[in-house]
Subunit: 230 residues, 2 copies
């Protein structure tokens, strides 16, 4: 399928390349396609021009990526998701499925301390709401499916790389959209995709990131996941 | 050891009985030892007088339970934990170990919807803080260890009752206190107790409750846990 990825950091790059490897036609969207934007260093990821050369995946603006995609992926930081989607444009988003991977991590100085594995959420995007819910509210025609936000994205696109079976979670209001996303996740190797119901299920998976981040520091690796055991 | 449990709801009753079954001398603390308090119905738990008759465990005030305990257990709802501990009294708490099981669930009408597995945290006890941190701040001499707050308490005191191995988490500033709590948890059957470092590690485990609550509705049972897989 045609997939437009909104966000060109480590999440967008990794998921974009993984979808392309499964035969999908991916366009990666970034804020501006300029020399400066393509060359700038990216946290935990390579400069975009190097990534584009290596993968041969087209890099375009948020708007062009959104127009290209039959399915969209929100791979931005949660705090700027609504800004990025506004640049993509309501007309380009329409009623498309949006796979929302974002977590509402507060990146303001002092709110996050990687050395201790300590992070806080953006208050306006947590507690009684979530990034997923706010996107759904802003784009009521779109079919938002929260997914892939409870593990490192490298694990997200290759869950079988771990030493045991783990679970992943989806949430969204549209059953057809969730079935489609479940198929895409199974193609990455997920055997158990737990459907948490409507989009308010995003709250729990987004707030899990706080435990995830501390576990990353405790375990000394971002390469892990969780299995629900009854 | 002598254990004083602060809180007489389902968490206090269950953990109190479980510690007694392991040979500890437990006193269960409640707000007031009156006919009315002992007879009142309790959510997911029996009236205190029935529990006391069945278990033969003494029921006393928060203050008396705190005085009795060499180790204290905070088994209150997170939103009232500081009030309950104030009733127990700073002199009775002293430098004792406090095993803090509380989660900052907002029980105000509208904030919680059990039918959808939807809950919000008390804003003042989440994001950049946690119940565990606030207790440690209020009682700097005490040695707070966050524990047993990521699973149903029936699972917490009998993790081997599930169909597979699961993990539990502790966090706290005092290594000796954490070693003691780890031993108590192992006596309940926990094989893996993951130490999340200082008390700020409480944030992640407390915020996990939001995912836990949705999972409970999704899975149709409160009897489950999670295993971290590398």
């Amino acid at each position: 399928m045609k997939i437009g990825v909104i966000g060109a950091g480590v999440v967008g790059q990794t998921v974009g390349e993984a979808f392309a490897a499964k035969g999908h036609e991916v366009v990666l969207g970034t804020r501006a396609v300029t020399e400066e934007e393509l060359a700038k260093p990216r946290s935990m990821a390579v400069p975009l021009k190097d990534w584009a050369t290596r993968t041969s995946i087209p890099v375009a603006t948020f708007r062009e990526a959104a127009r290209h995609g039959e399915i969209l992926v929100n791979a931005t930081a949660g705090g700027i998701a609504l800004d990025a989607l506004a640049l993509a444009g309501k007309d380009a988003i329409g009623s498309k499925v949006i796979i929302d991977i974002a977590n509402p991590i507060d990146f303001t100085p002092g709110a996050i301390d990687p050395s201790r594995g300590l992070m806080a959420s953006v208050p306006a995007l947590t507690n009684s709401t979530s990034v997923g819910e706010e996107i759904q509210r802003a784009y009521p025609e779109a079919r938002v499916v929260k997914a892939l936000n409870t593990a490192n994205i490298a694990v997200g696109v290759a869950p079988k790389s771990l030493g045991g079976d783990i679970d992943t979670f989806i949430a969204g209001d549209d059953a057809t959209a969730k079935a489609l996303v479940t198929d895409l996740l199974k193609a990455f190797g997920w055997s158990t995709v737990i459907d948490l119901g409507d989009i308010t299920g995003a709250r729990g998976t987004e707030q899990f990131i706080v435990l995830w981040f501390r576990l990353m520091v405790t375990l000394g690796t971002p390469t892990f996941g969780i299995k629900v055991v009854k």
